[in-house]
Amino acid sequence: MSLHVLAVDDSRTMRDMIRLALEPAGFTVHTADDGVHGTEVLSQTAPDVIITDINMPRLDGFGFIDAVRENSDHLSTPILVLTTEAAPELKMRARAAGATGWIVKPFDPAKLVKALQMVAG
């Protein structure tokens, strides 16, 4: 059974690239355009792992992580943050919000796959 990934990013290019990186590796990829859309898709797809951007309209990544963690079905669903900044304080902030890990953009497909395996087994 393939792992279901929910990728939330407001950039179509980024969503396409995530899809391109993950589908050949056997993942099933669902995408959402922003945090609000992400929570909607979340309820329909029950992903095994979530990838989210931080800067997004309507509901940003931190808000989205909060929303995921508030949902009792997803207390332990791994969430990877896709970020352009590698600053430690940002990582800490993401972690404080409940993120499982982070990937620095632009991501290397192999690393992304690895990171997903790392958090989702």
Binding site: M17, G26, F27
Partner: protein
């Protein structure tokens, strides 16, 4: 099914997205310019730059990344309210956005990036946020490593573990309770370690309390891993990156002596040794076959289609319309009753064809917004170049026009906007002297009006100096010295080839392109351009264009045995001329009375040179034509035949442009008919009558 090069596709789609993002940026900056200082507006602009940077990084577009990064930093300062927005800063943002647009274009076309301009803008952006002493911006702190994305995404990108000669490590790993609250788990980490090489794992359960005192969400377990892998300690530590600070772990290299011992069972009794094979927890192996298992992509709301394909569809629909007309004709010739099933079916067929056609046209229709945004840039640049303060007001941005029309309009509009800024508006001093505000206004509008698109470029400048225009035209020998011209005729002199009113050719609009070129390009789109000017109040150029370039509703008429088509949207009404309504205001100038007014008559057959003028217009049919300015003219024809959809077939350049002829079409019986531009015909004959020896065509 796999496209030849998915990266190239994503790259192409990235540039499409960039255009959208740049449009959103323009909108945001525009809003800020109009006084919106709310957080969301600046966020939108920030996110757009951020997304461009992110995508550009993925494709290794370093120049773009470098600029976007600095721009983003400055925007971030505004976002975090460390920097206040004022007119100068907005102006800088507008210019930076324009430049970003250039960079995106250059990157898309693999052209050289305009780096010199980048540098000067970057410096300005840096100064805004208190210019950190970055030495010459040489190495900005961009943590972007352009990555050439490899597409052979095998899951096992690591070299297979070498079992012998590889160093061994003992790893002790004890998760904190918090680690699990973040969605991390021990199993994947152990799996990742196993992915590095061969390992055996023991679990330490000694801290596990009895069931009665067990808190289910508390972490009690720890693991010891003996790993044999071709990896250094740092690589192993990287497996713990996500859980750094959320667990305790130690990595100890195992010496030769230790390695010979069997793994010590740290806690002894209950923990079984769990052998883990390398790669066991990997997701399904990636090979070309596994794509078949991927379910279809999530539903998309937008499909991007190659314009060529739409073009083909449009052509096919055009052929369908012709074909259907032929069928109608042959059914009619067969003498079928109009109430027969075949005729009813045909009617339904016609309705469907029309629906298809409308739908196809809608695919190509796009709002003129992107075009208008480009014009706002032209205004900014032009106003700086001539030292005038100009505000562009655009209206009707959502008006949809055929995409090919939009593209062909860019050049003419650019020229008209430059003209408006350079020649239309007075200098600030002159404006103040005339009691106007110092800053001039250029207005750009688009609207649908009776099946056509009307675009207007107007300024609130001094209007056309007609005496000067006429003098220049005489000096240049464009008109005879004794010509007596009406105001609108003088205005139209601007469209003459080789006419330029600028006493000194400025570097802005004096680029060898005159209004005659604008006019020619508008006409090649099947459009018309006209001028209205009021002394002291400004000038308005109006462009009137057909909605689509492919199909129109036409009235089929016969003149001297020639079949001609008049666009239906130009025909206000048809009438039969009777002796009561016919009048003559001077010899050779006939008019027809329509309700309370008189409308000049034009004998189409005569004007087109098919036959001499009719002796009497009585009982002839006439088409009442509405001009763009609202005036009327009546075209006398021999017979009105039909009203139907026709497919426009452009006339090749080899035919030369005949005044009054817009294009041609193929009728149902296979006959070729010319499509007229009645306004043009009437204008021509009006010129003729006024005695002005004008030949306005280029």
């Amino acid at each position: 099914m796999t496209p030849p090069d998915p990266m190239a596709e994503i790259r192409a789609s990235f540039f499409v997205e960039c255009e959208e993002l740049l449009e959103a940026m323009q909108d945001g900056l525009q809003l800020m310019d109009e006084g919106a200082h709310d957080g969301e507006t600046i966020h939108v602009v920030f996110r757009a730059v951020h997304s461009i940077k992110g995508g550009a990084g993925a494709f290794g577009l370093n120049g773009l990344v470098r600029f976007a990064h600095k721009y983003e930093n400055t925007l971030d300062a505004v976002r975090s309210e460390a920097l206040a927005v004022d007119a100068d800063l907005l102006n800088l943002f507008f210019r930076a956005t324009d430049h970003l647009f250039d960079l995106v274009r250059a990157a898309r076309d693999n052209a050289d990036l305009p780096t010199a301009q980048s540098d000067s803008l970057l410096r300005e952006l840096e100064i805004c946020i208190g210019a950190p002493p970055a030495p010459d911006g040489a190495e900005p702190e961009i943590e972007f490593q352009p990555i050439g994305l490899a597409l052979d995404l095998g899951c096992d990108t690591d070299a297979p573990p070498v079992l012998t000669q590889s160093p061994q490590y003992d790893i002790v790993f004890a998760p904190d309770t918090e680690m699990f609250e973040n969605g991390n788990d021990a199993y994947p980490i152990l799996g990742a370690l196993a992915g590095l090489g061969e390992c055996s794992v023991t679990c330490d359960t000694s801290r596990l309390p009895g069931l009665d005192s067990l808190a289910p969400e508390t972490s009690y377990l720890s693991w010891t891993v003996r790993l044999t892998a071709d990896a250094d300690a740092a690589e192993i530590a990287s497996m713990f990156e996500f859980v750094e600070g959320l667990c305790t772990y130690t990595i100890t290299p195992v010496t030769e002596a230790d390695a010979s011992e069997p793994l010590r069972n740290v806690t002894g009794d209950i923990a079984p040794v769990v052998p883990l094979l390398p790669d066991t927890p990997s997701p399904p192996a990636a090979n070309s076959g596994c794509e078949a298992t991927a379910p279809p992509a999530a539903p998309k709301t937008v499909v991007r289609v190659d314009l060529d394909r739409i073009e083909r569809l449009v052509n096919l629909v055009g052929e369908l319309v012709i074909n259907q007309a032929m069928m109608a004709q042959s059914l009619q010739n067969a003498g079928l009753s109009p109430h027969s099933d075949a005729m009813n079916g045909l009617e339904e067929f016609q309705r469907l064809t029309r629906d298809i056609q409308d739908s196809v046209m809608m695919i190509r229709a796009q709002p003129v917004k992107s075009l208008f945004q480009r014009m706002s840039r032209i205004v900014r640049e032009a106003s700086v170049a001539v030292g005038k303060e100009v505000r562009l007001i655009s209206e009707g941005e959502s008006t949809e026009v055929d995409k090919t029309v939009i593209e062909s309009l860019a050049d003419p509009l650019t020229h008209m906007i430059r003209n408006a800024v350079d020649h239309g508006l007075e200098t600030p001093a002159d404006r103040l002297a005339a009691g106007k505000p110092e800053g001039g206004i250029v207005r750009l509008s688009a609207a649908h009006r009776s099946g056509r698109v009307i675009m207007e470029v107007s300024d609130d400048g001094g209007g056309i100096d007609r005496a000067r225009v006429q003098k220049i035209a005489k000096d240049k020998g464009l008109i005879p010295a004794d010509a007596v011209l009406s105001d609108s005729e003088i205005d139209n002199l601007l469209f003459l080839p080789g006419f330029s009113t600028a006493a000194t050719v400025s570097d802005l609009s004096g680029r060898g392109v005159g209004m005659d070129v604008v006019r020619t390009s508008i006409q090649s789109l099947g459009g018309r351009i006209s001028i209205a000017s009021t002394q002291g109040q400004g000038t308005t150029f109006s462009i009137s264009l057909p909605l689509t370039l492919a199909v129109l509703d036409g009235m089929v008429v016969k003149v001297a045995d020639e079949t001609l088509v008049v666009p239906l949207n130009m025909v206000a009404e048809t009438l039969t001329i009777s002796g009561d309504t016919l009048d003559s205001i001077q010899p050779g100038v006939d008019v027809v009375r329509v309700r309370s007014g008189f409308v000049p008559l034009f004998d189409l057959g005569h004007h087109l040179g098919y036959r001499p003028k009719l002796d009497s217009y009585i009982d002839s049919a006439a088409l009442l034509i509405t001009h763009d300015d609202g005036t009327l003219g009546a075209l006398v024809v021999d017979e009105i035949q039909d009203q139907r959809q026709i497919v426009i077939k452009g006339l090749d350049d080899t035919f030369g442009r005949a005044p009054g002829i817009a294009a041609a079409t193929i009728l149902g019986d296979g006959q070729i008919a010319l499509i007229l531009d009645p306004s043009d015909i009437i204008a021509k004959s009006a010129d003729f009558k006024a005695g002005a020896p004008l030949k306005l065509e280029a």
